[in-house]
Symmetry: none
Subunit: 226 residues, 4 copies
DNA sequence: CATGAATGAGTTTTCATTCAT
DNA sequence: TATGAATGAAAACTCATTCAT
């Protein structure tokens, strides 16, 4: 049985198998986050998950793939969380139309921050992945960005055309936006304790997004109550 | 145990020891950056440095302390590099007075980016440190920030008072400024290849610093040729 | 984790594990005795036992515990051997009643000597344990004594009451009896070659036990043919 | 320069060298006794002695010879102590003549016990030597015995001829006498705490020496107040 | 499919010994 | 002679991975 599963294969798995898989993944997230990739003993994950070590290997092939699956799992959770926070696909569309791109970017950033504030283990996983697999594997969080950046790019491009955002290279703006979130999350989860992440990101965004706003429209922005 | 040693003998001794120490440190930086903390075999560092493994342990105690010393070394190099780029202490003072805080922040960020672009290993070291020693050790890069943030804070505070920067919480601004650099450096050194780091940071700064600029002064800024 | 296992399967499993355990123990006894605790490489034991080094560690945790288990194993063998030599529990009781305490003490000492003469490795183990773990661990041979001394104490006490042994502090007598055996075994296995241990202990006992005999009964004792 | 020194070479050493040698020996005794042979780091001995590690090696050749020299040193101290306790050569002669062999043996045993009670490190050294060098080196304590046993043998032989000791093989008696002291010292220094060693040996001797006494003379012995 | 005992390659670390100063 | 920095052989111990049950 291949360990790398296609979407279809995954769907084909019995509910029971899915449950076991997620059980392992949940525990591996905790352990990897706490002990780091190198410091993690797969046996510990198996014990916490209440399965044999062989079962873990059957499902994920090896430690590296287990970790990568864990990282992917985190990102999926992040994606779902952000979408839910924005109220779903439709509400997101409406948000852009009714409140503009800037506000949308702000809310996305805020949602991301909230996710990592509530799931600080995901921060560790992200860092571990970057640290361990820098060259070997294209980090899933970058892959995740790649998936999402198209959206952000579009958002920004349209906003530039509409005059809501001043004229900048959309790629540059997207990068800067992502980098600021990324840097704030990593630093913020250590420095500010776990409860200050949203505040830190919101505050940073307030400045950054102001930098994207055309001068004449700045005064029009309503004060916010974040 | 020597009965008496002249100052010169002492200095000569410590100079020799210093040389050996730096030799080891330089090689450990390369290896740790390439292999990661967990993936590094101290023997390899010793071989590259042309010394016995015991010598490495004699100088640094254990692998962890060797790594931490390496990380500290990187930050010291960064500090020296930035200072040199700005032209030294005095020139830095003049820079602020003649070109303002915004321009100074831009140049600092640019210098930091240039350092990491030229010394991409330092990026890996920084990430490794964060990944391996998250809670155990207060990361030296944060310590480094703590040392420098006072200066940035002052800079921003004064600029706010002088009207060059719009009214924001200086702590927040400093955090955001640092986080953006941090995030850009980590992402940029992977995504853009090694040569694009300065461009990425400069571009991000262009947006971010615009967000710090009061509206009426924005138009006055000259276009930059990054 | 097996869902169900019959009693037999469990017994079979533990029997197999027991066999492997005893296999390791037997070889560790040889190696520890020959090389000493410090001089022993666990790998050698594993090789001789025909198992992987990891298996040894899996079963015994670390070198120290392996050694301690070995020492305990020796003492168990000693206990079984002595009991067997005396003909079992019942025969021992009869021995006391029919031939008296003195004769019993002599036979016990003789059996102990015979064991160590046939299993000189056990002597080395005992010494190693004393040498390496003096304060850390309460030596198992002393623990062993503690278990047996109650019996010897009783024996002597009863014999004093019955007039077979002259009036002495039973604790003192037991100590002296044990110390003499202990000292003879340790010295004898080196000095006299391996074959003279029983003779040495018997001869020493002849003198010592005479010292426990009331004067008037001494002349009654029949000459022995050791 | 040879590390193994003849008596003459030793005497030829300057007082200063002698002092340094004894300084090292005194510290090595403490460290070997506390840490065991394998657990001892020669550097620690050098540090305590206030000399360089090279100096230790210059004087003693290697760790093994350092240990052996330490063991020998202990035995020399023991010999001197016992002789002093008995009041010197002459007094010893008189002791035998005036109080008999039995009393002399008792006093020797008591003196030995007192030495080990006051210098418990010497016990550890003795055990370590036996444990580490069982076959390689003929243990110095046995060598020591060999030197002294001649005297004890003579003593016993003469006492048998004189009727003070009952007819036994003198070699056997000497062995048993030594073994009992040996066993008591090793056990006693652990079990009874350090302060009970003399009492333990005295009590054991009381019984053992009774076993050497002819029946008819037993009643003549005065009760002792140990 | 699940399990967990077995394995041994791979690493860290120590420390006896040497030798240039 | 004295020193102590340098060395590297040696060993303990871990844990990812396999595979017989």
């Amino acid at each position: 049985m291949s360990v790398k599963k296609t979407e279809n294969e995954l769907k084909a798995l019995s509910a029971k198998a899915q449950k076991k898989r997620n059980n392992i993944l949940g525990n591996s997230m905790r352990v990897f986050a706490k002990e780091g990739f190198g410091g993690t003993d797969v046996q510990v994950i198996a014990d916490l998950a209440g399965v044999g070590k062989g079962t873990v290997y059957r499902h994920f092939g090896n430690k590296e793939q287990l970790f990568l699956a864990t990282a992917k799992h985190c990102l999926e959770m992040l994606g779902q969380f952000v979408l839910k926070e924005l109220g779903g696909e439709q509400a997101s569309q409406q948000l852009v139309q009714q409140h503009g791109a800037i506000e949308t970017l702000r809310q996305i950033a805020s949602a991301v921050a909230l996710f990592y504030q509530r799931t600080p283990q995901a921060v560790e996983i992200m860092i571990q992945e970057r640290a361990e697999f820098r060259e070997t594997v294209f980090p899933s969080h970058l892959m995740h960005r790649a998936e999402n950046r198209a959206g952000v790019d579009e958002l920004i491009k349209a906003a530039i055309d509409g005059g809501e955002i001043r004229v900048v290279d959309p790629t540059i703006a997207t990068n800067a936006y992502s980098d600021l979130i990324y840097g704030s999350v990593i630093s913020g989860c250590l420095e500010g304790g776990k409860s200050k992440l949203v505040a830190r990101v919101d505050a940073a965004m307030e400045i950054f997004l102001a930098g994207l706003t055309p001068e004449n429209s700045k005064s029009k922005r309503k004060p916010r109550n974040s």
